[in-house]
C-alpha cells in the first residue's frame, strides 16, 4: 500500500517530460532524431484522439490539417522568411480554419459518410499540394525549410552545447508539452465532457440540450489546429514539406498509432506513436520485409490488447491491485475503507 501511495504521488508526467528533455545530452544524434519524431507524432495522434476517443468521430482525413500546418509554416518561413514565432501560430490557425470549412460539411453527415467525406477533403488538399507548383512546389515539394533562429540559445549554459537539431528538439518538446497540457485541460473541461456525451449517445446528448453538430465541429477545429502545430514542427524537423505528408497513408498511420496506444486514455496515442516509430526503425534495419513484419506485430498487439497498449496495461494493473487487495489483512482493509475519497477516484478511473 505504501509503495502504491508513493507511486501515486510522483508527478509522472513531469518525470517523463524531464527524461525526454535529457535525450540530447544523454543520447546520440540518432536518439534525438527518433525522440523528435515520437514527440511530434505523439501530438498528432493525441489531436486525432480528440475526435476518435473523446467525441467518437472517425476521421480518415486528419492528415489534411497536419499537412496544411506543415505547408503554412514552411511557406512562411522559407518563401517569406518569417520568424518561427509567427509561422507556428499561423500554421495552427490555418489548419483550424481549414478544419472549420471542411468540418462544416463533414458534421452534417452520419458516421460512415463523415469518415468518407473527411478522407475526400484530405485528398483534395493533397491534390492541391501536388499541383500548385508556385506555392507548394508541387511534386518537388518545398525543400530546405530553415530551422528557426535559435542563436539566443547559444548563450544559455547547457543549451548552448547542443547542435541545432538538439536545440530544435528542445523547442519541439516544449511546444508539444504545452499543446498536450492544453488538450488535456480541454478534455477534462465541461466542453470535453459534452464531447464524451456525444460519443456515448448522440441522441441522448441532443435531448439534454447539446447542439451535437456544433460541438462536433468545435472538436474538429480544435483537433485540426493541434494537428497543424504538429505538422509545422514536422516540416522543420524533416527539413522540407512534401506532398506525401498529406497523402492518405499518413492518415492511416496516425490512426494506427492512436488505436495501438489506446483511445480510452489520454496518453494512449503517445505510447502508440512511440511504439510505431521505434518498431518501424528497428524492423526496417533488420529486414526488407519490414512492412509484412510490422503488420504482423501490429495484428498481434491489437488482438492481445483490444483497448490498446495503455488500455491493456491499466486493465492488468487493476487486476493485480484487486488480487493484492484480497490478500491484505482486515486491518489494512479497514484503513483503506476510511480513505473513501481515494477509492471513489479509483473506481471512477476504472
Amino acid at each position: 500500500m505504501k509503495t502504491n501511495d508513493l507511486a501515486g504521488r510522483i508527478p509522472w508526467t513531469l518525470v517523463v517530460f524531464l527524461a525526454a528533455l535529457a535525450v540530447p545530452w544523454l543520447g546520440s544524434r540518432y536518439d534525438v532524431f527518433l525522440a523528435t519524431q515520437i514527440a511530434i507524432s505523439g501530438l498528432f495522434a493525441v489531436s486525432l484522439n480528440l475526435l476518435l476517443g473523446t467525441t467518437g468521430l472517425v476521421s480518415f482525413g486528419h492528415v489534411a490539417y497536419f499537412g496544411i500546418g506543415a505547408y503554412v509554416c514552411g511557406i512562411l518561413m522559407k518563401t517569406y522568411a518569417m520568424p518561427f514565432s509567427i509561422a507556428l501560430p499561423a500554421a495552427a490557425l490555418g489548419a483550424a480554419f481549414a478544419s472549420l470549412v471542411f468540418g462544416f460539411f463533414c458534421v452534417r453527415l452520419t458516421r460512415i459518410y463523415f469518415a468518407m467525406l473527411s478522407l475526400a477533403f484530405s485528398q483534395i488538399i493533397w491534390a492541391i499540394a501536388y499541383k500548385w507548383n508556385d506555392v507548394t512546389g508541387g511534386d518537388q515539394g518545398l525543400p530546405d525549410v530553415p530551422y528557426p533562429d535559435l542563436d539566443w540559445m547559444n548563450s544559455i549554459p547547457l543549451l548552448g552545447d547542443l547542435r541545432i537539431a538538439g536545440q530544435f528538439y528542445v523547442v519541439s518538446l516544449v511546444v508539444v508539452g504545452l499543446s498536450l497540457a492544453a488538450m488535456r485541460r480541454i478534455i477534462n473541461s465541461p466542453f470535453g465532457r459534452i464531447l464524451t456525451t456525444i460519443r456515448e449517445n448522440a441522441e441522448r446528448a441532443s435531448a439534454i440540450g447539446v447542439d451535437v453538430r456544433r460541438y462536433e465541429l468545435a472538436a474538429f477545429v480544435v483537433a485540426g489546429g493541434f494537428a497543424g502545430i504538429a505538422g509545422a514542427l514536422f516540416g522543420i524537423f524533416s527539413r522540407g514539406v512534401f506532398s506525401d505528408y498529406v497523402f492518405w497513408p499518413k492518415s492511416a498511420e496516425v490512426m494506427i498509432m492512436t488505436i495501438l496506444g489506446g483511445i480510452d486514455h489520454f496518453w494512449g496515442p503517445v505510447v502508440g506513436a512511440a511504439t510505431l516509430v521505434l518498431l518501424n526503425q528497428e524492423i526496417t534495419s533488420y529486414t526488407e520485409y519490414w512492412s509484412f513484419v510490422l503488420g504482423t506485430i501490429l495484428l498481434v498487439l491489437l488482438f492481445a490488447f483490444p483497448g490498446g497498449i495503455v488500455g491493456g496495461l491499466s486493465a492488468g494493473f487493476a487486476w493485480l491491485r484487486r488480487k493484492r487487495g484480497r490478500a491484505i489483512s482486515p486491518d489494512a482493509r479497514r484503513l483503506e475503507a476510511t480513505g473513501a475519497e481515494t477509492t471513489s477516484v479509483e473506481v471512477k478511473r476504472a
Binding site: P190, R204, A207, I208, G209, S344, K348
Partner: protein, 244 residues
C-alpha cells in the same frame, strides 16, 4: 401548457400518427395509452423534435415549436426519457447527471475549468432524490435495468424541465420496482410542479396517477378525458381495455 394540433406522421405510406389533438394543462399529470404499435413513441418523438411531423403543430406556452431541433426544445424547458433506455453508459452515474447540469447551465463552451468539480453538490442532491446516491461512482452501463431507467429520469430532471415526457418509464421493471418508481415520479412531479406526459402499459399505474388519459389506437386518439370517462368508454373497452 402543451398543445398538439392535428399532428400527423407517415412513414412511407404508413400513417403512424394521424391527426392527433392533445392538450395538457400546467401541473397536470397526463398519460397516453394504447396497444403496441399504436404510435405513442412516435407521438413523443414528434413533440420533442426527434421526428419531423408530416402535418400539424406542437405549441408550448403559446410558442410554436414544430420542427425545432431537439436540443433547442430541451432548452425551452421540455425534458424527456426514452422507451429504450438512453444513458451515457461509459460515464459514471454522477457524470451522467453532471453532464446535463453542465450543458443546461451554459457551461458547454467552457474549455478551461475542470468539469468534475462543477455542480457536484447539485448532482449528488439530485441522485439522492432519485435514490441513486449509493451508485454515484458506478459506471452507468453496469447498473440494473431499473436503475438505468431511474438514472434517465435524473438526467432529464437535471435540465430543470417544466414539462417532462416519459416514454414507458417502468418498462421491463418488476412489479415492486414499478410501484416504487411510479411513486417516485409522482412525488417529484408534485414537488417540482411539473407538467407530466407519460406512456405506460401497466393500467394499474396509469389509473393510479394520471389525471387525464388519452387513448391512441392505430395512430388516432379514440378517447380522452379523466380516468373514469376513459374507463367507461365503449370503444376503448372494445379495442383495448377489454381484458382488463
Amino acid at each position: 401548457m402543451l398543445e398538439v394540433k392535428g399532428l400527423s406522421k407517415s412513414f412511407g405510406g404508413f400513417r403512424a400518427v394521424s391527426d392527433v389533438n392533445l392538450a395538457v394543462a400546467e401541473g397536470e399529470i397526463a398519460a397516453v395509452i394504447g396497444p403496441n404499435g399504436a404510435g405513442k413513441s412516435t407521438l413523443f418523438n414528434l413533440i420533442t423534435g426527434h421526428l419531423q411531423p408530416t402535418a400539424g403543430r406542437v405549441v408550448v406556452d403559446g410558442r410554436d415549436i414544430t420542427g425545432v431541433a431537439p436540443f433547442k426544445i430541451c432548452g425551452m424547458g421540455m425534458g424527456r426519457s426514452f422507451q429504450r433506455t438512453n444513458i451515457f453508459p461509459k460515464l459514471t452515474v454522477l457524470e451522467n447527471v453532471q453532464a446535463a447540469f453542465l450543458i443546461h447551465r451554459g457551461q458547454g463552451p467552457n474549455f478551461w475549468s475542470r468539469s468534475e468539480r462543477l455542480y457536484r453538490t447539485e448532482s449528488e442532491a439530485l441522485l439522492a432524490s432519485i435514490g441513486l446516491a449509493a451508485q454515484a461512482w458506478t459506471t452507468a452501463g453496469t447498473l440494473s435495468y431499473g436503475n438505468q431507467k431511474q438514472l434517465e429520469l435524473g438526467i432529464a430532471l437535471a435540465s430543470d424541465p417544466k414539462i417532462l415526457l416519459l416514454d414507458e418509464p417502468t418498462a421491463g421493471m418488476s412489479a415492486t420496482e414499478t410501484h416504487e418508481s411510479i411513486a417516485l415520479i409522482a412525488r417529484i412531479a408534485r414537488e417540482r410542479g411539473l407538467t407530466l406526459l407519460f406512456t405506460e402499459h401497466d393500467m394499474a399505474v396509469v389509473f393510479s396517477i394520471a389525471q387525464k388519459i388519452a387513448v391512441l389506437h392505430q395512430g388516432r386518439i379514440i378517447a380522452h378525458g379523466d380516468p373514469a370517462t376513459v374507463r367507461a368508454d365503449a370503444e376503448v373497452r372494445r379495442v383495448y381495455l377489454g381484458d382488463h
